[in-house]
Subunit: 361 residues, 4 copies
Amino acid sequence: MSAKIPVAVLAATGSVGQRFVSLLDGHPFFEVTALTASDRSVGRPYGEACRWLLAEPMPAWARGLTVLPTTPENLGVQIAFSALPADVAREVEPCFAQAGIWVCSNASAFRREEDVPLLLPEVNPEHIELLTFQQQRRGWSGGILTNPNCASTGLTVALKALQQSFGLKRVLVATLQAASGAGYPGVPSMDLLDNLVPYIPGEEEKLEWEARKMLGQFTPEGVRYDEVALSAQVNRVPVVDGHTACVWLETTQPASPEQAAAALRAYRAPALAADLPFTPRPPLLVREEADRPQPRLDRNSGGGMTTVVGRVRADALLGLRMVILSHNTIRGAAGGSIYNAELLVKTGRVKLPLSGAVSML
Amino acid sequence: MSAKIPVAVLAATGSVGQRFVSLLDGHPFFEVTALTASDRSVGRPYGEACRWLLAEPMPAWARGLTVLPTTPENLGVQIAFSALPADVAREVEPCFAQAGIWVCSNASAFRREEDVPLLLPEVNPEHIELLTFQQQRRGWSGGILTNPNCASTGLTVALKALQQSFGLKRVLVATLQAASGAGYPGVPSMDLLDNLVPYIPGEEEKLEWEARKMLGQFTPEGVRYDEVALSAQVNRVPVVDGHTACVWLETTQPASPEQAAAALRAYRAPALAADLPFTPRPPLLVREEADRPQPRLDRNSGGGMTTVVGRVRADALLGLRMVILSHNTIRGAAGGSIYNAELLVKTGRVKLPLSGAVSML
Amino acid sequence: MSAKIPVAVLAATGSVGQRFVSLLDGHPFFEVTALTASDRSVGRPYGEACRWLLAEPMPAWARGLTVLPTTPENLGVQIAFSALPADVAREVEPCFAQAGIWVCSNASAFRREEDVPLLLPEVNPEHIELLTFQQQRRGWSGGILTNPNCASTGLTVALKALQQSFGLKRVLVATLQAASGAGYPGVPSMDLLDNLVPYIPGEEEKLEWEARKMLGQFTPEGVRYDEVALSAQVNRVPVVDGHTACVWLETTQPASPEQAAAALRAYRAPALAADLPFTPRPPLLVREEADRPQPRLDRNSGGGMTTVVGRVRADALLGLRMVILSHNTIRGAAGGSIYNAELLVKTGRVKLPLSGAVSML
Amino acid sequence: MSAKIPVAVLAATGSVGQRFVSLLDGHPFFEVTALTASDRSVGRPYGEACRWLLAEPMPAWARGLTVLPTTPENLGVQIAFSALPADVAREVEPCFAQAGIWVCSNASAFRREEDVPLLLPEVNPEHIELLTFQQQRRGWSGGILTNPNCASTGLTVALKALQQSFGLKRVLVATLQAASGAGYPGVPSMDLLDNLVPYIPGEEEKLEWEARKMLGQFTPEGVRYDEVALSAQVNRVPVVDGHTACVWLETTQPASPEQAAAALRAYRAPALAADLPFTPRPPLLVREEADRPQPRLDRNSGGGMTTVVGRVRADALLGLRMVILSHNTIRGAAGGSIYNAELLVKTGRVKLPLSGAVSML
């Protein structure tokens, strides 16, 4: 009998699904026992059905797993990592939750529901308690928990540190987002050769509300959104991985760049989420060089889980300016969902099979 | 005898110098009779001394011109287009002005001097009258006039249209700047493959004051800077040509996106600069598509002289948001200096040799 | 009454179709009076139906043309430029030919048929006489003539010059092909950011037989393929436009690099095709620099119709090595079809409406 | 006392030097105790003197090491890894060898000397015995051993497997080489945005002789070069890491693609080099997909030490065609030198301090 928790990856053949498979390889809590995909792939070995697009090789154990349909029946798992597109997620994820499975979803479908936690464990782990409300309200024995949009992720981690120290009033952000954020095939190469696209459908809206929910205050019946006002402009740029954001910030208490940098550096994940396998170490890395962070050089900080901040400087208009970088397919997608799942274990919602392993927590 | 005004290009072998040579090919007013460069190139035919980097072929007439040293003696020109680096420009350009030559400079060296016009003819052609003050004060028979930094250019043209209609209070701008802005060899390819750099030395400062001078009010002894407050964050991105800017704007009078777009569309260059060969036609082009402007698709609008604006939309924090694109080596560099030189002709400071040609004005 | 020949562009909203519309703007012989596309676009103005992707603006006359279905009825044109995909072309192009229309096709569907000319007018204009055989055999009053694959084009022009001077035995070619060759959306950006793909389906086969047909000898019932043996390896690289080819050559008569370069430089289009509007001037440009041709710098030589050759040097194994560059969407696609259509006019198959215009020939 | 062999990295602040520092982190045999660089950096902590350009963070132990001048005096090391430029290497490396230090050099300066081994341990480990000849002839107590040019590396590994099974007559190779091969700043971004450069100074010559030395037969007084004839054409393409080569091959004994692929797959490093820490596992990986290898997806195979081959197919002209990929800064540079140094240990020229560690061999 395995000492690990059996998990599934939904939509495992797509680009986020592949990142789940790769990041879950050797995970101390979880063992992938089921991979699902669309009808075209069902019944084929994953190694054949999946056009693998990561630089890291496909784990050997995944190669031979037979691809299953995306239904909860007979999956035999306690957790399902969902890389489903939003429209499919809306239909399918509740079926899994009803069947007693915890869905750690990367999809946007349920992020905004009042009883669904939108989680960055190093920011708002206490929001996971919304799951109790969710189960009561919906009569589910499992549940759905979500991670935010890839561009909201790094931004929100940095905002949390500043909110906690100084309070936040207004935030303006211009993003330079990597191609991998659009999946595969995603953005045509003709759009990103000697070019960039100053538009991503729906993205600015997500940037403008998601941080407010995550920075908000937990109550048993929902989250009181933080009152910080955000405005975003987004761009797709010719970079493989790593979303960069130029941010202007107005804090409630005035903060010098040195104070802001110190607050960012000092920030630690709340105790509940501080010692999990995917806890970013550190959550925030502040670089001193004038020309950092840069996506190719900094995105893999902390195994891709650390948010990197640089160019923290004064601003005559709003008070502070800085540049924030986050790995969009690790911290901003699959890695974030896995960190969320670890919080399910930490809070006792999912139990490790062998008592010995509990000591890992 | 030629019907055109003899002109020189200073630092003609560099990337901006090459653009001057290319754009001056067939110009109705000007004929390039002298090309200067550093000692290494002096005495060699331009066709050999210059490693030509433009997609357009080197004009045949340039190929055989012997490269001269960058000194005003015996040049026999009335106008010198300067592509000199700032430190050299500071030493050399005054010698030309003293020798009776008009220096249309792309360098930053003198932009901030109170008696030196910083000109975008479609924005502030009346500032050219500072040259009278400059000649009196310095005892020069020629003079120096400058065009702004390539990233300030498109921004300022759009701001002018909005200032005129609504007044301006605050402007925040995040730029995504093309590699050609750094010249050649410029940015190493390792910095722009799967990467971007959120820093360009000195660039943010230029963006924050140059527009204020150009939007300011002319007085015979200098310009009263406009009081608009600007804050900039700049990025170098993997694009060949074309600077993109994401801009937030607070106007004095409230303006809806529709009103702003209408004001941008309706804007025309002041009469003094409205009918010159390099007048952008139109000065501002407003695109309706959600995903435009894009550098590869829009930078050549109006022969690279038109500023392209898109995504004009409301902003909950400052009022307006938009994206502005400008060709950095045409409108933002060599083309801008040439347009300035045309204004010298228009204002009678330089005369066309044959009376017939005057009718072109 | 127009002094020009009415023409249609089939599949006008795609990337090659757009290039046709752009290159036909202001053509001295042809006037585009019909644009066709798939059902989704039929009935809409071209300016709305088409997501224009070229840097050159859409011609004003095209904007208002109503998109028509791709059928020959009531089109009222004498020539149809076909940007259809191969499978559709196979069904549809014969209907146009039967209806008396000349189809200048960029599709691969009929290139290999023995009665269909595969034409590069500066190489084998006499092959156009296959159209007589084609009309007799198929009972058509119009006909189909084709241009080769974009990667075969520049190669074949250079090979022709060398074949004529020295004879050809063996040719090996490794290509580095631009993204635009795959159309839009074409290659995903994730495949061409920090990457290249050493494979293009079906491309190597085309490179290995197409040149042999074009270099072959015309007979009234078909072409006797040249016996040169070709072997190709192809790559897709992160370049917008311009296919580069590294070529090894074994000639029948030995040729030094100097002799080869001289033969390339001296080559002129046969008289029949030497003075048409799209005749490349010159057909072959030989560059001396060690590091040329380069796609961004050289692809627009001769308006994108000239084939550029460089690095002509000795090879210990086969005799000669060189690098060949050709603009894949101009000379290698739409521009090639237009040049072919000009040959229809030149050979009297299509007549200019006004006698005066004939003198243009 | 350390259980490891003290080593130095010469020119440690450059891009290859950084790769040495990164790859030597945690090496079981070697401990970096000295880092040298040019005068500008001498005396400063490495963490300050070095502009670190790798995505992997700088090892903590390196940060505080004081940069030393590049002279053998008082270095206290047994091995020096040289990332020196060729002209400096020619002067400096012999001083180290004379001082009793083994120089594992990535520079081209001594590769061609008859008494200097040019080594790929999985190909020709027996050539290391030239060091005995070298020491006798030059009176050195240390010595110089070299690894080949980055573009020769993968090619030669694949050729060795085929030579061994079928014999080799002729090889033609067209390369698509990554930007990192030119170091930093290296290639200007303007040369690799929407562009490629079909030229690298001196590179084709290296490709044409280096493989012949490595595939040659060892004799105590030198290597009898293999008689295979090679011809190369090289290109610089917009890829960060990973050199791709399209190769045509004529073997002495005929080989089908299946036989060739089988020989490549079956190839193992000779016993002497088969079990070292940097032994590529496997030396050659053959991929079946039609569109592989691709640099971004395959360059890290075997930790960047494995050569990846794909598209093994028949060729009508020479017999075989294939595509070969190798990580140019790992297998093709720093990783290769380290593997060579391990062979010094394996052959007893350098001894591990503690007897226990010898069992690692």
